[in-house]
């Protein structure tokens, strides 16, 4: 049922994420704190990997580095075949725009935009015309069962509905890596289950890897693999029930 993460090896073609020896230090001198202490992790395309562990164990730091929003102190980070460590900031911005979708714990929807407009944001960032982007976002929202809430503002939606809008926003531009940070922590059990069903049924695709950061044990059943983190390291990678 469980297996140790293999040692460093050549990056396989179907690996969406390949992380080796990644460390991250915050602060300097005596105030320095090590958030990651040498992490090795591979995530193949088509897999839903859950990063679990207690608060402060480094889950969010690791996922931020994999998503390209944070740089490591040391180590190797290859995502979708691109070396993020060697990448310039400008290139990283383009990389995220084209390849990464995000689902945030607190949704981070723009309060002044409707559900369809919020879901269209990644397309607008990529330069799509507004009308076309909103139409494409509306199609994705309809697929997520939000077809009757397209014109609603976030304040007019329940937490579960807002998270569905966030999922639509995360996949509307068809990214090859989806990063979800505590997507169910602000939801009740039923909405949490629905959210994870949507992520595992719709977001997971053969050419897309999904990483979910969570410590909500109720949703572990949706994972292909579960990586347990402890004190800045991945202690154990288990095969999940979905595999």
């Amino acid at each position: 049922m469980s297996s140790r993460q293999p040692a460093a090896e050549p990056v396989a073609a179907d690996l969406a994420v390949h992380v080796r020896g990644v460390t991250k230090e915050f602060g300097r001198g005596s105030a320095a704190t090590w958030a990651l202490r040498g992490v090795d992790l591979d995530v193949p395309s088509g897999e839903l990997l859950m990063l679990v562990g207690p608060s402060g164990c480094g889950k969010t730091t690791l996922v931020s580095i994999i998503a390209g929003t944070l740089g490591p102190t040391a180590g190797e980070v290859v995502v979708l075949g691109e070396d993020l460590v060697a990448m310039s900031n400008g290139r990283k911005v383009r990389f995220r725009r084209e390849n990464v979708g995000f689902v945030f714990q607190s949704y981070n929807l723009l309060p002044a935009l409707t559900a369809a407009e919020n879901a269209a944001v990644p397309l607008l960032i990529s330069g799509w015309k507004r009308r076309r982007a909103v139409e494409a976002a509306a199609d994705v929202l309809a697929e997520l069962g939000m077809g009757d809430r397209l014109a609603h503002l976030p304040s007019e939606l329940s937490g579960g509905q807002q998270q569905r809008v966030a999922i639509a926003r995360a996949i509307v531009h068809e990214p090859r890596l989806l990063v979800c940070d505590e997507p169910t922590s602000a939801l009740d059990a039923e909405n949490g289950r629905i959210t994870m069903e949507l992520i595992s049924n719709i977001a997971v695709q053969p050419d897309r890897a999904v990483i979910v950061v969570t410590h909500d044990s109720r949703v572990y059943s949706f994972a292909d693999r579960i990586a347990n983190m402890e004190d800045g390291r991945i202690e154990l990678v288990e095969v999940g029930p979905r595999a």
């Binding site: 969010t60 911005v93 725009r97 714990q105 922590s185």
Partner: protein, 378 residues
């Protein structure tokens, strides 16, 4: 993305109105105070502007502004006439006379004496009586505001009399005239009559009004008059600006208005800048999310600037609009000077632009340094 910026801005109505209020406050204060300042400056030169016809004013070399009369001798008129390039030259009297009204009240008046033969400098806005009536004995024309000042609430009536220097003056006309800085009534009469109305002095000729011959530059004629007579000759425009310069340099008017304008600018910047900054801080996670999703710093910069420009345009429009409405209302209802030339609009636009830039800079710094990883911190 500009559309998102706009929606973010107007979506938070309280903050949006707060930022716009700051810009409107500054724009109103700057435009209104600058317009009153221009109005006051305009009053100082109204008598130069109202004397239509002659292009050249000749005066004593030490005259600093239009009300600074230093009488010339009658010979000076002929010396000016003798300067090559001068087509014609006439006398012009300007002074203050004390009038005794029918009711026994006294009133200070600005007395203008026009050349007897040509009546050069006669008022152009006569709406009762005629300029030719000035040729009658003791005849005077008074300005509309002056009539209403000395006979308040009474209907316009020609033939009314009052006394100046114990001599009877008979009203033969009422004219529209620009208000003066002192707001005294303006009385027009013939030069020969004016010297009788005025307190006795050895020399009474205030100015010589002259015209350059066609085809000769008036500035060149002024130079020749200066050179040959030792008098000071100025074109109408030069005299106008000399008078304004005097008020700018020798009075506290610019400083007083400047302080108010500066305060408006500072307070407007503080309100708009602080509210805009708070708006940005409130939305910092949204900006972080946009950056995480692939919005570049340049895109974010353009978004914040676009928000600033949008606030600036709305605030400027409302501000100068309100200032203009204020001017329109008070101009009719009171004697407050108000003049809003295009330069006031331009200065206000520059001030609003600076306010928007300062306000945006505070916010731009905040959003540019925000780490996109902020969105992963619960």
């Amino acid at each position: 993305m500009l559309w998102i910026a706009w929606k973010m801005l107007v979506g938070n109505r309280v903050k949006y109105l707060g930022i716009v209020f700051g810009v409107v406050f500054a724009a109103v204060l700057i435009a209104q105070q600058a317009s009153i300042f221009c109005g006051l400056m305009s009053l100082t030169v109204s008598q130069i502007r109202d004397v239509e016809g002659p292009g050249i004013w000749v005066m004593d070399r030490n005259v600093q502004f239009v009300d600074d009369v230093k009488p010339l001798s009658d010979n000076d008129l002929f010396r000016v006439k003798g300067v090559p390039g001068v087509e014609w030259a006439v006398r012009f009297y300007k002074g203050i006379a004390r009038a005794r009204l029918e009711e026994g009240l006294y009133e200070q008046m600005i007395l203008l004496g026009l050349d007897d033969a040509t009546l050069v400098g006669a008022p152009q806005g006569l709406f009762m009586g005629s300029v030719a009536g000035l040729r009658s004995p003791d005849a005077v024309i008074i300005d509309d505001a002056g009539y209403r000042r000395i006979w308040p609430g009474e209907p316009y009536r020609l033939g009314r009399t009052f006394e100046m220097n114990d001599r009877r003056a008979v009203l033969v006309g009422i004219t529209k005239a620009s208000r003066t800085f002192t707001s005294f009534p303006i009385v027009y009469t013939r030069y020969s009559q004016a010297v009788l109305f005025a307190p006795p002095e050895r020399k009474v000729l205030s100015f010589v009004l002259a015209q350059a011959m066609p085809g000769i530059d008036p500035t060149e004629v002024c130079r020749r008059i200066d050179e040959r007579t030792g008098l000071q000759a100025l074109t109408r425009q030069q005299f106008l600006w000399k008078t304004i310069d005097h008020y700018l340099q020798k009075t506290g008017i610019p400083v007083n208005f400047g302080i108010t304008v500066l305060l408006g600018f500072l307070v407007g910047t503080a309100i708009a800048g602080q509210t805009f900054y708070l708006f940005t801080v409130e939305n910092i996670r949204q900006y972080g999310a946009l950056k995480a999703m692939g919005a570049s710093n340049w895109t974010i910069l353009v978004m914040v600037l676009a928000q600033g420009v949008q606030v600036g345009v709305v605030g400027y429009g409302l501000g100068v609009g309100l200032a203009a409405v204020f001017g329109w209302v008070v101009k009719g209802a009171s004697r407050l000077a108000f003049f809003m030339p295009w330069q006031v609009l331009a200065i206000t636009a520059v001030a609003v632009f600076l306010i928007v830039i300062v306000a945006s800079l505070l916010s731009i710094r905040k959003v540019l340094v925000v780490d996109p990883a902020i969105v992963f911190r619960g």
